[in-house]
């Protein structure tokens, strides 16, 4: 298919090599017990589930981070890439992460339905670092 067709380009991009790779061979899949921060949530529309566990040192930096759960390639690859991006960052920096940061890491554009898949891990991560009881869509509005 022609790469200059914008629609086609976006579609092909959605399943680009990096995303299929990280979906099939994630680098940060696992569970940390004990952990300093853990949170999990699901996307009721498609049943995707993500749990994220973090270990944080005394200076407030994320030293270890993993995710577990199941779901589509977009949700799982974005979780893996998001975890990679926060290692070594401070919890305060993680709190500042935005929707666009995840889309930049993924390097793709998504419609409203798949955006929920891509942002589930960010929602879980932010609910965890803010110490919230419930993950709210507002966490990933911007």
């Amino acid at each position: 298919m022609a790469g200059n067709d914008e629609e086609t380009y976006t579609m092909d991009d959605m399943y680009r090599e990096l995303i299929i790779d990280r979906y099939q061979n994630p680098l940060y899949r696992g569970v940390l017990e004990p952990n300093d921060i853990t949170f999990e949530d699901s996307n009721p529309l498609c049943g995707d589930e993500i749990r994220i566990d973090l270990r944080v040192d005394e200076t407030g930096n994320v030293t270890e981070a993993v995710f577990s759960g199941h779901g589509c390639a977009i949700s799982q690859a974005s979780a893996d890439l998001l975890i990679e991006s926060i290692l070594g960052k401070s919890v305060e920096e993680v709190k500042e992460l935005k929707k666009q940061d995840v889309l930049d890491i993924l390097g793709i554009e998504l419609g409203p339905v798949r955006l929920k898949c891509a942002l589930l891990s960010l929602k879980v991560l932010k609910a965890g670092v803010y110490g919230l009881g419930e993950a709210d869509d507002d966490l990933v509005e911007t």
């Binding site: 399943y15 498609c46 589509c72 977009i74 798949r114």
Partner: protein, 416 residues
């Protein structure tokens, strides 16, 4: 061995010409293969034109109005009721209540009949394959009334276990509410047998006809069911209009569901007298144009013939199951073609249903992915999501081939 491609039962080219949506491309150069009719069907010109003509020529509020347009609107609306009544074999149009959809019809039964007839400790029998619309209204009522909910289980082929059903019937249930055809497995349940056994045990029967009424002949008198719920938008009609059929004695004895205009005979400051059926259950200005659209959809389906539609879908689903089974890694859920309607829910090893649907969409093939509003059924099957291709009168065997080719594209992208 290559599967022999069967001939289409219906003249799909001629039928497709009635549906303007099939003239569009999904994206440049990619024509639409619409395999999501279980969610909602496409609409033929006959339905669109009937609604258009109503708004352009006859629009007025119904009943009470003493002017030409009000009379035309009332007549058109009530004619739609007569058409629907004849379509499902209702003894009288007055037993046809217009609602918003199947969900509202079931809620009407739960909150009107259920609230006034069910008592703490009473048993209601449902099945493991119900859509959320035939589960949650009963969850809500069960919590309020302390009801006991029992479920007819399915076997590994997605068929209801009627032996366990008979054991459940010894609990003297007050109601058996079940789907005529599963929106996920496609299983067509033996409605007459289930109803007969329920009545013998003294229970009332509610049939969820959302997936059956559009696809094969359903006759409420022959089935002897007490309530039938279905939606207009799944049978070539518009959204926003659904139907509840009820046995007359039941409807007459039931209290109103929603209060307001049109459902009353007389109102005083502190009291009201409800109207007769069906108006007792149609509070407020109803979906007039949508009812007229549904009437046109009924005409359209009857012109083609429900038997022919059912035969066409049976041919397509038989072919689709054969073709899908050929694909390595594909698992199909539900019974064989002779026990199901035109629904094929499947998974592909190593690929989430959402990713399947996304890549099929690139090929112009529209399927649904997820739990299809049947989470308990997916739990039972130990699945989080399936991809679902569903077929209707406008689908052709050629479109099954496009589906299968697109699934091979998915396998390419996911290297599986």
């Amino acid at each position: 061995m290559k599967t022999l491609v069967p001939a289409n039962v219906l003249e799909t080219d001629r039928i497709r010409a009635d549906f303007p949506i099939f003239t569009r491309e999904v994206r440049p150069g990619v024509s639409l293969v619409y395999l999501d009719s279980t969610a909602t069907t496409q609409k033929p010109n006959q339905v669109i034109d009937a609604m258009d003509a109503f708004y352009r020529r006859s629009n007025a509020n119904i009943h009470r109005g003493i002017h030409m347009l009000a009379e035309e609107a009332t007549q058109n609306y009530e004619e739609a009721r007569v058409k629907v009544a004849s379509f499902i074999g209702s003894p009288s149009p007055r037993q046809i209540i217009f609602t918003r959809n199947t969900t509202e019809s079931i809620n009407l039964v739960a909150f009107s009949w259920g609230r006034s007839n069910l008592n703490p400790g009473d048993t209601v029998i449902l099945t493991e394959m119900e859509h959320h619309s035939n589960l949650v209204p009963w969850h809500i009522l069960a919590a309020e009334k302390k009801l006991r909910l029992e479920f007819i289980p399915i076997d590994q082929n997605g068929i209801l276990d009627l032996e366990i059903y008979q054991q459940l019937l010894t609990r003297n249930p007050k109601l058996v509410a079940f789907t005529h055809m599963s929106n996920v497995l496609g299983t067509i349940n033996p409605a007459a047998e289930i109803t007969h056994l329920a009545h013998a045990a003294g229970a009332i029967v509610l049939l969820d006809g959302a997936q059956s009424v559009p696809h094969f002949p359903v006759d409420v008198a022959a089935l002897e069911i007490d309530f039938l719920a279905f939606s207009g938008h799944k049978m070539c009609g518009p959204t926003g209009i659904g139907v509840l059929y009820g046995r007359k004695e039941l409807l007459d004895s039931m209290p109103p569901f929603l209060g307001g205009g049109d459902m009353i005979k007389r109102v005083e400051l502190r009291s009201f007298t409800p109207n007769a059926i069906p108006y007792k259950f149609e509070a407020g200005t109803p979906a007039i144009a949508e009812a007229i659209g549904l009437g046109a959809a009924v005409d359209y389906l009857q012109d083609i013939g429900l038997q022919s539609i059912a035969a066409h879908e049976h041919m397509i689903i038989s072919y689709a199951l054969e073709r899908l089974e050929e694909i390595p890694g594909v698992t199909i859920y539900g019974p064989k073609a002779d026990q199901k309607g035109g629904v094929a829910s499947f998974t592909l090893d190593g690929v989430h249903a959402h990713d399947i649907a996304q890549i099929l969409d690139r090929e112009g093939v529209a399927v649904r992915a997820g739990h299809h509003c049947a989470m308990p059924l997916h739990d039972r099957l130990q699945l989080t999501a399936t991809a679902r291709a569903s077929f209707y009168l406008y689908n052709s065997v050629e479109e099954v081939d496009r589906l299968v080719n697109a699934i091979y594209k998915v396998k390419e992208v996911f290297r599986c």
